[in-house]
């Protein structure tokens, strides 16, 4: 299939070149080098796990952008196992693809491996959750800034000035994941200036909705006057929302995620109160652009470090539109 596609592309290129000649018009001077830059290239993708909106969305976006150009796109699925992911990257380093796209489970585990990959002549693109080692490209949310904005939202919603208790709880993902570490930093920056907001619980649910539910149920029972919970991922916060629903309390649930249709549905039916959205198809596009850039330039991996922060969107029931969320491509 891929071979067929490659042939088709090269045939189209040839045909295009031929017809251009025939018309005796002016050749686009970047056209041939553009397609040449991608022929036979290989991009490998190592997410934390497949099977949820973010990673599936990135995969779909990258595949759509790259495969028509003749780039081979491989997925290595460690299925929530850091060790398996490390094994996959180690194996990839010896297989030498042209680009590795990595979604880090935490800031430390892959750092040395990514460095080694760059030294081996492989471009490394990190998406959304970065490691402590900066590689060629990082595409994802500015978590410190995001944390500050979330902190501000908590202050806005729960301030005792508005008659609220000022008690908030945070459900992190994996503590050492970039999303947790940097976001906490941002939130702390804000909350430290607002002593009226009390952080009554700050625990890690490891991206697991069952754990999140247990934690939330406990916290709500301990603090019946809890004002808000902010969770670091919408899929996990389904559990938090269930705990809130079970308790029958009115707790403001501020979540975040990739802006899948599920988020809009849950905002609409009141499961979530608000969600911070980093638009996944946009991130996929950014990555694809950067990969194209790198492949065309041919510079040595590791020579430049580019960061592209994704624009953030604070969605609520009131400000969302049909276009605010995206649908999973049907082929999954």
């Amino acid at each position: 299939m891929r071979l067929f596609r490659t042939l088709l592309v090269s045939a189209a290129v040839a045909l295009g070149a031929g017809s251009a000649l025939a018309q005796e018009g002016i050749n686009d001077p970047t056209r041939a080098p553009y397609y040449d830059a991608f022929a036979g290239k290989r991009v490998a993708y190592v997410p934390v796990a497949m099977g949820f909106d973010l990673t599936e969305g990135w995969a779909a976006g990258l595949r759509d952008a790259l495969e028509p150009l003749g780039v081979t796109f491989d997925i290595r699925d460690p299925n929530w196992n850091t060790d398996a992911g490390a094994q996959a990257i180690t194996a990839l380093i010896s297989e030498k693809p042209d680009v590795i796209v990595v979604h880090n489970p935490d800031v430390q585990s892959y750092a040395r491996l990514l460095k080694r990959a760059e030294e081996a002549g492989i471009y490394v693109v990190q998406v959304n959750m970065r490691s402590s080692y900066s590689t060629d490209v990082f595409v994802g949310a500015d978590y410190v800034g995001m944390g500050e904005q979330i902190g501000q939202r908590l202050v806005d919603v729960c301030s005792p000035d508005k008659g609220k208790s000022g008690k908030v709880a945070i459900t992190q993902g994996v503590l050492t994941a970039a999303a947790s570490i940097y976001q906490m930093q941002g939130i702390n920056n804000v909350l430290s200036q607002h002593p009226e907001i009390k952080l009554v619980s700050n625990q890690a649910a490891d991206w697991d909705s069952t754990k999140a539910k247990n934690i939330a149920a406990t916290v709500i029972q301990q603090h019946p006057d809890l004002c808000a919970i902010t969770g670091f991922w919408d899929v996990m916060d389904i559990g938090t929302a269930a705990a809130i629903k079970e308790s029958g309390k009115d707790v403001y649930l501020l979540t975040q995620g990739g802006g899948n249709r599920m988020v809009c549905d849950n905002l609409a039916n009141g499961t979530f109160s608000e969600s911070v959205v980093y638009f996944v198809p946009g991130q996929a596009r950014d990555m694809a652009t950067m990969i194209k850039h790198l492949l065309q330039h041919g510079q040595a991996p590791g020579t430049t470090k580019t960061t592209l922060f994704t624009p953030l969107d604070f969605l609520t029931k009131d400000n969302m539109t049909a276009a605010s969320c995206w649908d999973m491509p049907s082929n999954g």
């Binding site: 406990t218 301990q222 269930a242 629903k245």
Partner: protein
């Protein structure tokens, strides 16, 4: 168990639960309120339902490590089918049928292929999860579609002021009790668990009984899954890979159903479930952190097992070989 002076594990655990209950009631204001007690039972009712399923298998000297995986996958598939536009009843029937068939396969592997239950079901758990994720649906989490909101009542509704899951737990317990007490095949389960060779010689159809255990466990597991999905409005299939099934085993064994089979009944499951419920609830009110709760829970479970062993010591001469 001799009746004089010797306490069975069930009695120890029950005593421990009462002790804790009394302690919490005295020390924690708000523990003995109706609301809190209902909350307590509701929070463990799904665990309890699964406990009954596991209990039936363990009494028959088996173990079903695929219980949670099967529950997660079959219910997630049901939700996906409903989401795809299938009528709710039809989707549920398909999910149930899938669950029962897999249960029968479990039983066949144990009874006819004679693979040790612990491995057959361990492998089946992984296999079911993989099968579901590979063939049935591709996303980790299946959400309850809008259309199926009528199902939510099972998990979130109340009847006479009491949450529905508690009623379901009670109904499952009653059904399990009646089955073990009065159904012929229910009494056979205990006979098979107590001494499979003797049961075979007596003329009990040992293998079909074993298959029946696993089918029943799958059936009850599916029910528990529907309640779970209804209360969280979704089904997370990663549950299949979690250690949740260990919690279920703990409930069962803690209540006094020996892993070597033949002993115990539904009462033991209830006692075990209540102890866990009281423990978690009390610790929550005492504002103990989630991770610390696990340590305390574990330590208390260990204490219960140690007390049981000291009161009912096992002897080098009478210990069963290969009984781990």
């Amino acid at each position: 168990m001799s009746s004089m002076g010797r306490l069975s594990q069930e009695q120890i655990v029950f005593g421990l639960a009462l002790l804790l209950c009394a302690g919490f009631a005295l020390a924690l204001p708000g523990f003995l309120t109706t609301n809190n007690v209902l909350n307590l039972v509701r929070s463990v009712s799904i665990l309890g339902i699964l406990g009954v399923a596991m209990g039936l298998v363990v009494i028959g000297r088996g173990i079903d490590l695929s219980l949670v995986a099967l529950m997660a996958i079959s219910v997630a598939w049901t939700l996906n089918l409903i989401g795809g536009g299938m009528p709710i009843a039809q989707a549920m029937l398909i999910g149930l049928a899938f669950s029962l068939i897999v249960g029968a396969i479990n039983g066949w592997l144990v009874a006819y292929a004679e693979i040790p239950a612990i491995f057959a079901t361990l492998a089946m758990g992984t296999l079911i999860y993989g099968f579901g994720r590979y063939f049935l649906f591709s996303l980790d989490v299946a959400y309850m579609p809008e259309r199926a909101n009528s199902l939510l009542w099972l998990g979130q509704g109340t009847l006479l002021g009491v949450p529905v899951p508690i009623f379901i737990f009670a109904a499952v317990c009653l059904a399990g009790y009646l089955f073990l007490r009065y159904a012929k095949s229910g009494r056979y389960v205990r006979a098979v668990g107590d001494n499979i060779l003797a049961a075979r010689i007596t003329g009990i159809p040992v293998r079909p009984i074993v298959v029946q255990q696993y089918v029943m466990s799958a059936l009850i597991g599916y029910l528990a899954g529907i309640v779970t999905a209804a209360s969280v409005a979704s089904m997370n299939t990663r549950l299949a890979l979690s250690t949740y099934v260990y919690d279920v085993i703990l409930v069962v064994v803690l209540g006094g159903i020996g892993l070597s089979g033949g002993k115990g009944g539904i009462r033991n499951v209830i006692v075990g479930t209540l102890l866990i419920g009281i423990l978690l609830n009390g610790m929550t009110i005492m504002d103990i952190q989630y991770t610390v709760q696990n340590v305390v829970k574990g330590a208390l479970l260990l204490t219960a097992i140690v007390i049981d062993t000291i009161v009912n010591p096992r002897d080098e001469q009478t210990a069963q070989q290969g009984d781990i």
